[in-house]
Subunit: 515 residues, 2 copies
C-alpha cells in the first residue's frame, strides 16, 4: 500500500492549482499522438474512464467521464481526479466544458467516483460516489470509506455539490466496495441502483429509494438468479425496453467460459420481467455480454427527448495498459448507440445522427471466387462500412487497417464452414493486452445473408453483426500506412455488396462553430 | 469435376515407372526447406497424410502413411498414391522402407486409402480401402465405388495383396463414403470398425466381423448417442483402456461450439462401457477432442509388446495448405504418445523412449515479479521442455520460437485471472489457415501448480498440460532467427522450475547405423 501513498503526494483539489505550463506539457504531448481519433470522444490528456452523468438536459446531451488529466505527468507527478464535462446538441459534435466536478470535498477527496444524472425540472440532479481513505498513516491498512453524494447543475452548466452525504459508509454485511449510483424514476419515486461487494467477496446490486432526492433509504439487494457471479459488480444500470426490465452491470472476477468472458472484466445484462420495486425480485435469465470485443466497459444509458435509450461506454478496460500512454493519455468512448429489443436480447446500432458525418460515399458490388480484392474507399480510416455477404465458400475475410501487402491488418473472418465469426487483432499494430488473447469470436449463422456494419476510426473499430445482435468493440494502434481494405473469399464464391461512407472529423473540444 | 480428371492424366501405378530424375527433383527441393523436422516423421517429398497400419510386429513398430510423393511435381505433373512404409525398433529411429503399397490394382486404382494392420502369428494382416471411380467418361458425374480389401506382410517386410475384395461397394442406405477399416480382436474374433456416411448426410461407424480375416460380414452401425454429429466419420478406431471402451473417430462438418471444434475437421473420442459386440450398443458420454491444437487429424493407435496403447496421428489437416508446399512437401506425424485413462478421460504423454534422444540438459529455477526473462537452453529448436509454474500473478507467458526482440513468437499464455490457457500462433512466422483463427484455448485451473510439457521441433510444438489431460499440437513456420525462449510474469510473481532437454536429430529415412 506504500505505492498508494506515493500516488497522493502531489494531489491537488483543483486543476487551477496546477501551473498551466505543466498542463500544457501534457496536452502538447497528447496532440503528437498518431492515434488520435476523428469522431470518438477521447481525453486531451491523462486518462479517460467510465462515462458518468449521461443525460439529456436543457436541449443538450450531457456526458461526463472519469478523468485524471495529470495521470501520466512527471517531474513533478500531479494527482488530480474528477469528472470531465462535455455537452452536445446531436451526440456527434461535443463541446468541452472542462472539469465538471473535482475531488475537492472531504467526502470525495480520494476520488470523485462514478455516478449518474437525472433531469428534474430546470436542474440536473447528479448522484455519485465519493471515495475516501482512513487510517492513511499506516503503510498497509488503509480503509476505504465510500460516500454516496450529490450535486445539482443549473441550466448555465454550473454545478453545486450537496453539502451532506446521502449515504455514509457501507452497509452491514458488505465491504467498502459500494459505488456507482445510477438514478432512475419509477411510479413517481426516485431510485438508485448501486454496485456493492458482500463480505463473502461476491458482487451484487442494491436499490435505494428517495422521494425528494435528498433523503435516501436503502431498500436492499436486487434479488437475481446470479448470487455467485464475480467478486464485485460495478456500474449497474436499470432501465426498461418494451415490456422488459434490464439490469446491466460490470461483474469483476469471472473466469473465462469457452469464448465468453475473455476480457479482464465483463460488461453485460440480465433481462426479465420489470423489476418488482416492492420486493426487489428480478426474475431473469442468463447473463448476456453486451459487447464481445476486446475493449468495452462501464456502460451507461440515458433516455433522450425522442424516447430513445442511448448507450455510452468506455472503449477500454481498467488495468489494461494501452500504448497511447507514451503520449500521456489513454481511453476513448464508444460512438453512442441506440438500444432496442429484438427476440428478448438487446440489439445495438450507432445513433442515426452519424449520417450527419457522412462525406464521400463508395458503393461496391463484387463477386469473388477464391481470390482477394482491394476495396477502395478513401485513405482516411474514418468510415461507416456496411457490408452484405452471401457466401458459397469456406470463409470470407475482411481485412481492415491493412498495409499494402496485407501483412498487417485487423482481420474479420466469416468462417462459413464452422459457422463462426472471428475478429483477430494479432497483426493489427502495437500489442495490447495479449495475455487476454488476440482474437474474439462468436457463433454466426452463415447459411443466409450476413450483414456487417463497422465504424472505423483512426484507432478503433466497432463491429455490428446482423443489425447489432452481436457487437465487438476494440482499439487498434496501426502504423500510418495501414489504410487499405481487402476482401477475400476462400474455397468458393462470395457475393458482396458494400456501402462505405467516409466520416468527417468531429473532434471533441472543438468549438461547435469550427465544424 | 474436370479438375479431378486432370489430376489423373499422368497417373502411374508404380513409383518405379517414374524417371528417377523427376523423383530426385522433388526430394532435392524438399531438402532445401528450412522447416525440416529433427525428430518427427515427415515425407521426403510430396504429401504425408493419415497414419496407416500402425502395429508392433516382428520386434519392430511398423508405420505406414498416406503418401503422394509426386503431389507437387510439375512439367510433367505425375500422380502416384500409396502407403509409405517405415519401421522402428524404438519409436524414435525410423527406417524408410519405401512404397509399402501402391495403387496398382483395379480395386485401389484411384487411391490406396487408409487402413490398419494386425499381427497374426508370423504375418501382418493389412486391411484398407481401395478407392475407385466409375462413369469417369462424364465430366461431372463420377461415382465413387469403395472396396474394403486386404494384404499380408511377411517377416521380410514383403507385402502381397489379397486378390478379391472383402467388401464391395457401399451398404444399402449409405453413400460411397465408406472407408478406413481398423482391425481389432475380441473374444477370439476379428472385427473391423469403418467410417461411413448415411444417405441423409450424417456420419457413423459400422462394425464388420470375421473368423478368418477373409470372409467379412457387416454387422451394422455401432449405436452411440451421436446420431447427428457431422456429415462423415473418418478413421474410426476402437480400443479399451482399463475397463472402458473408446470409440475414436474424425467427424467432418461440425460447426464450432465456443472454443471447441475450431479446426476444419475434428478428431476425438467417445468413452463408455466396453462395446457390446452382440447388439453393437455403445453406452457413452459426450465427444472429447483428443487434441485442441491447430494441426491434428486421422489418429490411429496400436498396442505394443509392453501392453502400452500408442497413438500416432497426422500433425496436419486435409484441405489446409501449409507453406512447405513451396518445397514440394507437406505434413508430418506427431511424436508417438502413450495413452492412459485418468478420471474417465484419456491422458497423453510422449512415449518414454524420447529420453534416448536427450542430449544436453538445462535446469532453471526462477522467481520473476512483473518482468520478462530469457531462458537459455541451446540454440536448436529441438527440446523437451518441462515447466512447473506457481503463479501469484495475473498471467504467465511463455514465448517459444521467439526472435531476439520477441516481436515474433509462439505465445503460451497462462491467464490466472481468467483461469484460461491460450496458445497464440499469430506472430509465430508464416501464416497458416488463419481463417480458422490464430489461437486455441481451454479452461485451466491455475489456483495450484501448473505443469506443462512441450515437445519443440524445428517447425512444430506439442503442448501437454497437466500430465497430458489437455494437448495442443501445431505446426509453426518461423524464421531461422526464432530460437529464443522468454518467460514473463504479469502483475505479480511467478515461481518457475524448468527442465529442458535438447533433443538429438533422429531424421526418418536414415539408416539405423548412422545414428
Amino acid at each position: 500500500m506504500t505505492n498508494r501513498r506515493a500516488n497522493y503526494i502531489n494531489m491537488v483539489d483543483h486543476l487551477t492549482d496546477i501551473p498551466l505550463t505543466n498542463i500544457e506539457k501534457e496536452t502538447n504531448l497528447t496532440r503528437e499522438s498518431p492515434y488520435r481519433q476523428n469522431f470518438h470522444i477521447e481525453s486531451e490528456s491523462g486518462s479517460l474512464g467510465d462515462p458518468n452523468g449521461f443525460s439529456y438536459f436543457n436541449k443538450n446531451y450531457h456526458l461526463f467521464y472519469q478523468w485524471s488529466p495529470l495521470e501520466f505527468s512527471q517531474n513533478p507527478h500531479y494527482t488530480h481526479h474528477g469528472w470531465k464535462h462535455l455537452c452536445s446538441p446531436d451526440l456527434i459534435h461535443w463541446q468541452d466544458l472542462g472539469a465538471g466536478m473535482e475531488s475537492d470535498t472531504r467526502y470525495d477527496k480520494y476520488g470523485t467516483y462514478s455516478g449518474s444524472a437525472f433531469p428534474v425540472d430546470d436542474k440536473l440532479f447528479i448522484m455519485y460516489t465519493g471515495n475516501t481513505w482512513v487510517n492513511t498513516e499506516s503503510d498497509d491498512d488503509w480503509q476505504r470509506i465510500p460516500y454516496q453524494i450529490g450535486a445539482w447543475m443549473e441550466a448555465n452548466n454550473k454545478i453545486k455539490k450537496v453539502c451532506t452525504p446521502f449515504i455514509t459508509g457501507t452497509l452491514k454485511g458488505y465491504t467498502g466496495h459500494f459505488r456507482d449510483p445510477k438514478v432512475f424514476k419509477k411510479h413517481d419515486k426516485y431510485y438508485a441502483v448501486l454496485g456493492i461487494q458482500r463480505n463473502n467477496q461476491t458482487g451484487s446490486a442494491v436499490l435505494a429509494e428517495s422521494d425528494d432526492l435528498h433523503n435516501w433509504q436503502i431498500l436492499g439487494e436486487i434479488k437475481t438468479n446470479h448470487n455467485k457471479f464475480g467478486y464485485m459488480w460495478e456500474c449497474p444500470d436499470y432501465y426498461e425496453l418494451d415490456d422488459k426490465g434490464i439490469l446491466a452491470f460490470c461483474p469483476q472476477g469471472l473466469e473465462s467460459e469457452d469464448n465468453k468472458f475473455c476480457n479482464i472484466y465483463q460488461s453485460g445484462y440480465l433481462i426479465g420481467k420489470p423489476l418488482n420495486m416492492s420486493d426487489r425480485n428480478f426474475v431473469c435469465g442468463k447473463f448476456h455480454e453486451l459487447d464481445k470485443g476486446f475493449d468495452f466497459y462501464a456502460m451507461q444509458t440515458t433516455k433522450d427527448k425522442k424516447g430513445r435509450r442511448i448507450l455510452m461506454a468506455w472503449m477500454g478496460l481498467p488495468e489494461i495498459v494501452y500504448p497511447t500512454v507514451k503520449y500521456h493519455y489513454t481511453g476513448c468512448m464508444i460512438f453512442p448507440r441506440e438500444l432496442k429489443l429484438e427476440n428478448n436480447v438487446i440489439v445495438q446500432q450507432p445513433v442515426a445522427e452519424i449520417k450527419d458525418l457522412y462525406s464521400k460515399k463508395y458503393q461496391i458490388t463484387a463477386s469473388l471466387n477464391n481470390k482477394r480484392i482491394e476495396i477502395k474507399a478513401g485513405k482516411q480510416n474514418s468510415r461507416d462500412i456496411e457490408l452484405a455477404i452471401v457466401g458459397h465458400n469456406d470463409a470470407t475475410i475482411l481485412d481492415l487497417f491493412a498495409n499494402k501487402n496485407n501483412s498487417r491488418h485487423l482481420r474479420l473472418i466469416f468462417n462459413r464452414k464452422k459457422q463462426k465469426f472471428i475478429v483477430d487483432r494479432s497483426c493489427s499494430g502495437l500489442e495490447i493486452a495479449s495475455s487476454y488473447g488476440t482474437s474474439r469470436s462468436c457463433y454466426l449463422d452463415q447459411s443466409k445473408l450476413i450483414k456487417v456494419r463497422i465504424l472505423q476510426d483512426v484507432s478503433s473499430a466497432e463491429i455490428f453483426l446482423n443489425n447489432g445482435k452481436e457487437v465487438f468493440s476494440m482499439r487498434i494502434f496501426p502504423d500510418d500506412m495501414q489504410n487499405f481494405i481487402y476482401l477475400t473469399s476462400e474455397n468458393g464464391e462470395a457475393k458482396i455488396k458494400a456501402t462505405i461512407n467516409q466520416l468527417k472529423v468531429s473532434k471533441v473540444g472543438m468549438s461547435l462553430k469550427d465544424n
